[in-house]
Subunit: 295 residues, 6 copies
């Protein structure tokens, strides 16, 4: 007489227990981006997933960029976005717009979605609590192109994260920082996520992208590689198997692994509840990268 | 291409979120008994359910009796169990056996099941940490029958529960206590659960029984009453609708509600994962009792 | 032989001691706005003053708006700022721009200035940590005009402030909030400061404006009123002595005093180090409002 | 005029001060067994001694077995106790009885005695809080005899002891554990006490036996050895001076010393207040074993 | 064979247990004075007694005066001690000497004795940590005599005592204070002890004197009153039964009882270990004063 | 219109910010002595300076001697102060007077001055909380002269300082200690300050003297050396440039630097607010000694 459906639901919950137990009390850094940040429904699902992680005792940290919205605002302000080799050329006016959009629009929208889902989040950029200090890239580092106010994380000060997480807040971090002189710099969000994951000794880095993971043939999802080592990944970059758009994501994973993170994942944010599927099943749904030589 | 099954499982998890959020950090007292304590498979499922509650931030406290196993050991020791009006006549030798079986066999088996499920439990009786003090019932209180060493909880000292729960341990409590002179007393586990739920300001008391809940016609589960008030429940007892076996369970619920517990539930422990179904769905699967006059 | 100048400097420090002692460990809410937020030099001075307060054991909380920069960005985006009765008409696109500018540009610039001065600040809006929830004003409340997405603070949740302040961070709060449905609302920063000061039991609310304080004759600074009660202030509003631009500031002060704040001050942010002069001297430099009937 | 008796009593208390000071805040593991666990009066005295230790700032941990009571219950249940080489052959039914008697009868009686003496104790077995995990002994390890469900401690998890002791509870531990698969195992209580003493860095292990200590001639208490080293003890075992019954006690002492315990004692529990006499006088009343090469 | 003496000593210790348990964790204020502060042997015994109290979990606070040594130093400095009605006339030079002797000689000697007995004490006067503020007595309050710099405690600030006691230090307090203007005042040590006992909610105030307690006939110790109420005590003062020297001691006791202290004792410090005899036996050896109407 | 004077005062405060920030949360040991301890006005200024340091987040520890007052009391008591090679010959009676004056008069007066300035101080000698243990100097160590009860610090027990400072109290330490047998010893206050500064890892040791600092020509303040290394200082002692009176001060500085203190200063306590001038300006007003080889 008891509803079979209820029975099945209970069964699913109980099957999640070993995973919940495994990640209990651990930090997981999630790089949020791509379609999952544009589609309203996907956005709500990602946030709900993260709130669930929070309530079952996992400690998520969210890092985000926000390309599409930046371009839109730039165009509204009569400025044409410019890219060289896939990287945004960021003059002084552009960096101001990038910061405004990332920390004042994208970030606050995410924070509000946490409120709506019954969790408390705090939006941060590298400037808040001096979370991280960045360094402007020289043209030498960007193949001779002057990208303007573009930088990379130099040092991280995790105290503010510890304070917020210990008090039950979820940090939501925009990929904006400043250098020692206070100059605002546009940072690559994948890179920021990798660095932060290492700095807080996260158990996992999960990068949400628009594709299924690393595929042997980028045009055929059936060639998805489920697991590979960081050494394998480096070789695949050299061999050109991993395409340009995917390279910074893979590099962020490798950086995190080097810094002591146990496992890094590249999964598709376009699949509803991809986070839960990757974390709470053995098979997973994307690509997992592990350190070579570590069983 | 993604497995529909995985998708569905993630959906189930996310639908549990509002319930998890609602009970987060709250105490729930579970009276464990009946078939669910005899059937090996059911036993494992109940413990797994409780471990899940623990990991999603709920604070379960387990109270148990253990009738069938007591009778078995008594018979092995050449003693015939004796009941008057459904209550065990407990002479000095019997109370020694009851304590030995409840605290030394049933309790330790439950504690070990928690170990096997990756959670840490501590077995207690009323004697441990002086958790509760009891008082021997007089024949006047038991319709003229001298039940021997049978008593009821007089005062509760919740400090040991607070210490254990705050440090991540699940208390598993056998319904045995002692009076001021140190005499061991056999206590009714439903009653103990109701008193404890009130003492620790639990959000819920859940009584696991062998039937679906309170039914208008005890022989027809289709007459199950989903929700009723404590006043309704008292009337149904007076009217004889609630049968003798169910009365102590209902009284325990009423006692808990009086003591400030928000809701009390009587559900069937024979249904796999009944706990999760009752806690994590709106419909529930048994009977919920609420205070009259409280919306 | 000892430098007279050094001697004099030491003397000044020592004369600040009674004031430092008096405010030690107390919260002071500072509403930051006007010229002091436009002029680069004044901006640096205000932040340096607040950093000094922080280091001498006072607990400052900063609340800011940012009118001029909003207008500038709106114009860059081809939108004409519109005001009715001095209040900004805030349609959906406008509120998005207001939020972006206040929380993503003005707020982050202030936070960075704290970094440059050796203190750690965290930028917040009402959305972060659900610091406050707002309510959209109805046309009835705004003299029949539909101001759009404009609201007022309804409830405040001070936990995040406590956590940050106890851990040595200075909160910098933009006057943006959201209602229960997550809709972003533009709030009056004076009003937010007054409400917050009451909620955290601040010792003082200090409103930085562009004039010396409340003057009997707005065109003559020599008519400055040094001290008045909240009742006096209400009467002066009724009598039309206090002009329209000053009214919300005075109302914020009255609201703070009603909520238990000891003293409220309106001072000119255009005077270098006005904060220090008001806090660390008996005379003060602006207008102080106290509760009537409290000596 | 003042009572000489009172004077003398005060003198005795004051002479205990150097000993109290010396053991203040230190852990002492007491292996409780033999006549002192059978005789009602001795039992009360041992518990009173331990309560006194607790109140003067020492942190006692009690470990007990319970041979005689096990045999009695086995016989009541129609089972004949069987021993090979002094060790109990423990089939599945026997281990169930052993656990029931040790954790459900002996342990709870001790806990209740603490209640009666105004201290709060918590009864534990290896299963509670996963205090220790055991390993079943192979016939190879027991001279070719299959002793059944008999094991030895493999790993200890002291967290639950720390939590209880820090909160003012006295742990009372029955020598029952389980292996990784949850199988219950009968353990030697001397061995458990020795292992625990090492694990919690106890200052002392005190083994209560039925004889005065180690004697050169087991039949002549006048040949009692007051102090010897662990090396001496090993030699005496080899030479056959230390009899079979005493060997596990001496081995437990040696194991504790190896693990860092400062001193181990074997004393007679049949002497009233033997614990106090051993701890609070220089002479002591039994045998003290120290590490060789440590002054 | 076991030494009867050892046995007896253990018995004495165990008989102290109920008393130790009763006072465990409670504050006891001891007014130290009279012969017990002059005789070297008695001095050592009193300190040893207090160290014992400290180690068995009681929290002693010591208050002392120091008449004889003050007179001695005054004479060495060529000043003649002067008394009116038993009270020291304390001119400016005298108060300087009194402070110097009490806080710089008597107090430090006591502190050092604690060091020698293995406990850590901190010497304080009312000035240290602003422990108490005093008020100069007017001639009206001293029967028309101007006693000079003599005062009484006006307000007590127990924070420093809490900090020291919680960290394991024994406070040793000299009866010297200062008024609001910083003027040093000589205070009556009995009075200070009574006030402090009330302020810290002590379980007991014990006044060490040179006589057995309150006697019906001051010249006959056989007329000692073992127990009386505060009302009885007041009546005996009125009736002249209690002599002038004893009155301030009795008044201190009454003040302490009024402030919530459970029991106050007047005992002879000339009896070795009087403190232990009074605290650790039912009979006691002096006079105990209790509140009338409190059973 | 705004008072120029106010403006200037604010400017001075703000210019102190970098210094305040630099010393925030750090320990500074101040050796107090010389004229600054005799002149009433200077005394008040030094205490006010230290209270200011305390309120701006620096953690001062004061060490003092008290030569002139000792001599005065000795003479009042008919004893002639005797010095050999600048060191006081301290017989048993003298050491008693020295302790009485230092801990009972000088120390308490300083503590009271802190009360008057709104800060809470606790007076200590080496005996209190067993802060330090000393060792009597042998005639061999004092050029063949038997100086009597004169010693040097042997071991320091910083727990009491940590407890007091963490709870907001300022320790004021008299240079008196005791040896292992409890014998009181007169200690050199410079030496005590140097040892303590090293033991608590102070950022600075500041020695207040009666001269400007170390001068090449002691009779010409214009030859003041602003900065030198510890090696330079040792060489200047050997060369006789540093006079006898200054040597113990310089040695204390060197000892502190060896123990890890960052910088040591010798300044004139006769200059009003010398402490503030030295700490809060780059130039300083006396001599700063740094470790050689440390930039």
């Amino acid at each position: 007489m008891i509803n079979d459906e209820l029975q099945k639901r209970a069964q699913v919950l109980i099957e999640a227990l070993p995973y919940i137990r495994h990640f209990y009390g651990k930090h997981i850094v999630i790089k949020y981006g791509g379609k999952a940040m544009v589609d309203e429904k996907l956005k709500r699902q990602v946030i709900a997933d993260i709130v669930l992680l929070h309530y079952v005792g996992i400690k998520p940290v969210l890092v985000h960029g926000g390309g599409p919205e930046i371009n839109e605002v730039m165009r509204q302000m009569g400025k044409q976005p410019k890219f060289v080799g896939g990287l945004r050329v960021t003059d002084e006016e552009t960096v101001r717009i990038v910061e405004m959009v990332l920390t004042g629009s994208v970030n606050k929208e995410l924070v509000e979605l946490f409120n709506q889902n019954g969790a408390r989040a705090i939006g941060l950029s590298g400037k808040d609590g001096n979370l991280f200090t960045a360094r402007r890239l020289t043209p030498d580092e960007t193949e001779g192109v002057d990208l303007g106010f573009v930088g990379e994380v130099e040092s991280i000060n995790t105290d503010v994260l510890r304070v917020l997480i210990d008090n039950g807040y979820i940090p939501v971090i925009a990929s904006i920082g400043s250098d020692k002189d206070g100059k605002t710099l546009n940072l690559n969000a994948d890179h920021v996520a990798g660095k932060l994951a290492a700095a807080i000794h996260a158990a996992k880095l999960i990068v949400l992208t628009d594709v299924r993971g690393i595929c042997r043939d980028q045009n055929d999802e059936l060639t998805l590689i489920s697991t590979l080592t960081d050494e394998d990944a480096l070789r695949l970059i050299e061999e050109g198997v991993i395409g340009e758009g995917m390279i910074p994501k893979v590099q962020a994973c490798i950086e995190a692994l080097k810094g002591g993170v146990e496992k890094a994942h590249i999964i598709s944010g376009a699949i509803p509840h991809a986070l839960l599927m990757e974390l709470f099943t053995d098979e997973g749904i994307g690509t997992m990268i592990i350190r070579s030589g570590v069983s």
